[in-house]
């Protein structure tokens, strides 16, 4: 597939005013940018988005243009600085909102209203505007002002209770997954709002995205487990090492391998390890026999000597051949060099003045248009890189911009 940057992208005529910071909101606006939207990221003068000061840093040296976290979250965006505490700063936001379809923000609930940039204020300026707020617990309710970090929100979001080993403490997910998931939901919410405006001739809409609720809804099939509890009265505990006969994380010669067992898959596992004779025995030849949890250790004693003699990639290839569900416990290094991701050119090299070209996670989804692929992403912006450009687009003269800069508004 060839690259054709001029081809139409779904959102390349949409402007997003991005008042989000840290992790959840920027993840969402990044996806709108991936689909072609012009995302104008508004940052605090001098220091910018707090993620600019958060590791990992290039060569482990801190600096506003060195954070890998910021860079990853802010591709395909333009950056302008603006002091929202100043009256003129807020007027500029209102001016920008006139030409925008979507505003996404992630301040503490009530902040936007307090500074005169709430939905009620902005819809007076632009009745077709879609505004999406991303917050920890939503815009109202008893926990509205609770303070929390990813770890706390994952715990409250419900999945942590069944994450980890039964005899040990509950475990969080890696990194900031729950926040990112809420950001993804914010992208969907914004698109849904835009859809109403454009396809149903509706007025704009206000979308309230809560990290807590998106986690409680979806992370780790939470809504299925909430139903399961009501069906059975059973609270989801953490599983033991093997949740079903044949399943669990098995050691290999060079690492570990996750395998799914249970009555349906055991026959395939038995064929894979070359012990077909077991299937003649009633305890392994029938679904009921294979479901007996008392026989977990007995079956592991058949599998583990087999996996120990093989690399995790050899086990994976065998699983594919014998239709056994499983996957190696890869490192990030394994992932970046994985033949599947390499064959699909998944990781994208993006050039940046600090780092030179380095690999970023690729697009979530791919549009299949004949002879056309997604255009390459634009690199993450330097702090305030597009301030003058954006201000001149809304009609400010070079002198007016200089005055704003002198007064610390931008």
């Amino acid at each position: 597939m060839t690259l054709e940057p001029t081809s139409i992208m779904p959102l390349d005529d949409v402007r997003v005013i991005d008042l989000t910071h840290r992790t959840a909101g920027p993840f969402g606006t990044r996806i709108l940018g991936d689909y072609g939207a012009d995302v104008i990221k508004i940052e605090r003068p001098e220091t910018g988005d707090p993620t600019r000061s958060m590791p990992p840093f290039y060569k482990d040296e801190p600096g506003l243009e060195r954070s890998g976290l910021f860079m990853f979250l802010n591709t395909n965006k333009r950056s302008m600085t603006l002091d929202l505490k100043s009256e003129r700063g807020r007027e500029i936001v209102k001016e920008l909102v006139k030409g925008a379809q979507i505003v996404v923000e992630s301040f503490s609930p009530g902040t936007m209203d307090a500074i005169g940039l709430g939905y009620e204020d902005l819809k007076k300026i632009n009745p077709k505007l879609v505004m999406t707020s991303v917050s920890n617990y939503g815009q109202d309710g008893p926990y509205r002002d609770y303070i929390g970090i990813e770890l706390n929100l994952y715990a409250m979001g419900g999945s942590m209770t069944s994450s980890g080993d039964v005899d040990n403490e509950p475990l969080k997910t890696a990194g900031r997954m729950v926040s990112y998931h809420a950001g993804y939901a914010a992208a969907l919410a914004s698109a849904l709002g835009l859809f109403q405006v454009e396809f149903r001739d509706a007025d704009g809409d206000y979308m309230d995205v809560s990290i807590f609720e998106t986690a409680m809804h979806s992370i780790d099939m939470r809504l299925g487990r909430l139903m399961g509890y009501q069906y059975t009265g059973h609270i989801g505990t953490r599983p033991g090492r093997a949740v079903a006969v044949g399943g669990g994380v098995h050691p290999c010669s060079d690492g570990f391998f996750l395998m799914t067992g249970g009555p349906r898959f055991i026959p395939n596992i038995i064929r894979m390890i070359g012990m077909e004779e077991l299937l003649e025995q009633p305890e392994w030849g029938t679904a009921e026999g294979r479901a007996n949890p008392d026989r977990i250790d007995e079956f592991l004693a058949h599998i583990i000597p087999w996996t120990l003699e093989r690399t995790k990639e050899e086990v994976r290839a065998a699983c594919e051949e014998f239709a056994v569900l499983g996957g190696p416990l890869n490192t990030i290094e394994d992932l970046v060099n994985n033949p599947q991701f390499v064959a699909r050119n998944y990781f994208q090299e993006i050039d940046h003045p600090t780092t030179g070209p380095i690999k970023y996670p690729g697009y979530h989804n791919r549009m299949h248009r004949e002879g056309v692929d997604f255009p390459k992403r634009r690199r993450p912006p330097l702090l305030g890189e597009h301030t003058d450009e954006v201000l001149s687009e809304i009609g400010l003269s070079a002198d007016a911009i200089a005055a704003l800069r002198k007064d610390g508004v931008v």
């Binding site: 689909y35 890998g68 309710g141 990112y180 409680m216 299925g224 909430l226 509890y229 069906y231 064959a343």
Partner: protein, 456 residues
């Protein structure tokens, strides 16, 4: 062909006979989606579309049982059902009932607002019904092994000829091409390949204890619904339908973004972090009073740390050289965790949470299913609504994962479709078959509310 074959259902009003009764004012009312999704990632995506008003038609077959979508087995024994409580696989009162496939908790959670039809696509007339459905639909979503779809004739080349305005969303695990195209996995295996469990597992135990949760399905579910809306907008601007590939793995890997960046920038490979933060301390989960009750506590600045010391009635810790700044705390986090752990051990998690929130310390209780169902914040926010399923009873089920001011009260309208529940509506009103033709489909075994007796 009796049905309208203009190719787009064109956002008219929903069909009057639709048994899920979407409100015509819902954002996606009048759109029709063909749903070939299984297990969770795909169904979670089409659930978003159905909730917001699209007519989503699940296409199933009485002769094929997709394991784990409607339970692990079509006809599990009582003992098997009683043993399967985890992962949302439970059934009401832990009994299989007459039709166990209509009683799976996870299916009954995400299938709401969707229609259910059955058809055998391995027959000529089944394929003709599929073609009719494609002609009158706006979208198709599937998340199967690519080859299995292709074997059933579900390919972009064929379907886009029938309906050039179709938006087709395919959600393979790893992609429609590449060496893993035929590699069948679930979300947890895909996550393992993507590096997740090895990063998140315990720092002090063998990776054999690695957890196997599945955040990935949710991300690609949301991503697929977004992809459909993007496809519709592309169609509006270009007049062309679109195939969008939304691989689960490629939707999940960005959730590990900072780990990939650290590897790209510094060659660093993070493993076995457990509940450790990259650099903050305290940042952990602590056992409280009660059975399997825990609370999480973290501090990201000195103010929070000092407030925590005050609240623990240990103000001297704030000046203790072991804990006086984040760097020292991070270095001495084992000692720090022991002190905090001791403070919470004889207290209730909810009490600790309340107390710490009052003084502004980041905290969260580890909430289980019972806590969630009774949670006062979720109650205030109207997170749950009661929904009745004819073969499973009445239960609380979540509304949508985010709220729209224009559309208050969007959420469950009808129970998850029982196998084949809406055949008559789909065949006759959507596909335009006559009573006689429908009887013929029935005679040939396409129509039914039971899986074939040969399926275990």
């Amino acid at each position: 062909m009796a049905a309208d074959n203009s190719g787009v259902n064109s956002l008219g009003s929903p069909n009057p006979g639709n048994p899920t009764q979407p409100d015509p004012s819902l954002p996606l009312a009048g759109l029709r989606i063909i749903d070939f999704t299984v297990v969770f990632a795909g169904p979670y995506g089409t659930m978003q579309l159905a909730d917001w008003g699209a007519e989503v038609i699940r296409v199933e077959s009485t002769t094929h049982f997709a394991s784990t979508t409607r339970g692990m087995l079509a006809r599990p024994a009582l003992a098997t059902v009683q043993a399967q409580t985890g992962m949302g696989m439970g059934m009401p009162d832990s009994e299989p009932g007459e039709r166990p496939w209509n009683r799976s908790a996870v299916f009954n959670a995400h299938g709401r607002n969707k229609l259910g039809m059955t058809v055998n696509l391995r027959t000529e007339e089944g394929q003709e019904a599929l073609e009719r459905l494609v002609a009158v639909s706006d979208g198709l979503v599937e998340n199967n092994l690519p080859q299995s779809m292709e074997r059933q004739g579900i390919t972009w080349e064929r379907l886009s000829k029938i309906n050039p305005k179709l938006i087709m969303i395919r959600m393979p695990a790893f992609g429609l091409d590449g060496p893993y195209k035929g590699y069948r996995t679930w979300g947890n295996h895909m996550e393992a390949i993507s590096g997740h469990p090895l990063i998140r597992t315990y720092s002090d135990l063998s990776p054999e204890y690695a957890p196997a949760g599945v955040p990935s399905d949710a991300a690609s579910g949301i991503g697929s619904a977004l992809a459909f809306l993007m496809g519709k907008r592309y169609l509006k601007r270009t007049g062309k339908g679109l195939l969008i590939e939304a691989p689960t793995a490629e939707n999940f890997v960005p959730l590990l973004g900072e780990f990939i960046m650290d590897y790209s920038m510094n060659g660093r490979v993070w493993t076995q972090m457990g509940n450790n933060h990259f650099y903050l301390a305290p940042h952990n989960v602590y056992r409280t009073q009660g059975e399997d009750q825990w609370v999480t506590i973290a501090c990201w600045n000195e103010e929070q740390w000092q407030a925590l010391c005050e609240r623990m009635r240990r103000p001297e810790l704030a000046d203790d050289p072991r804990f006086c700044d984040n760097e020292s705390r991070f270095k001495n986090k084992a000692e720090l965790d022991a002190i905090i752990g001791e403070w919470v051990a004889d207290k209730h998690a909810s009490w600790v949470l309340d107390q710490l929130q009052i003084v502004g310390v980041p905290s969260g209780a580890v909430i289980n299913e019972r806590d969630a169902i009774e949670d006062r914040h979720l109650e205030h926010r109207g997170f749950f609504k009661r929904m009745t399923h004819p073969e499973a009873g009445t239960h609380k089920t979540p509304m949508t994962p985010f709220k729209s001011m224009n559309n208050p009260g969007v959420g469950p309208r009808r129970h998850s479709p029982r196998l084949g529940e809406d055949n008559e509506y789909v065949y006759k009103q959507v596909l335009g078959y006559s009573d006689e033709e429908y009887a013929e489909f029935d005679k040939k075994g396409h129509i039914g509310m039971d899986f074939d007796p040969s399926i275990p």
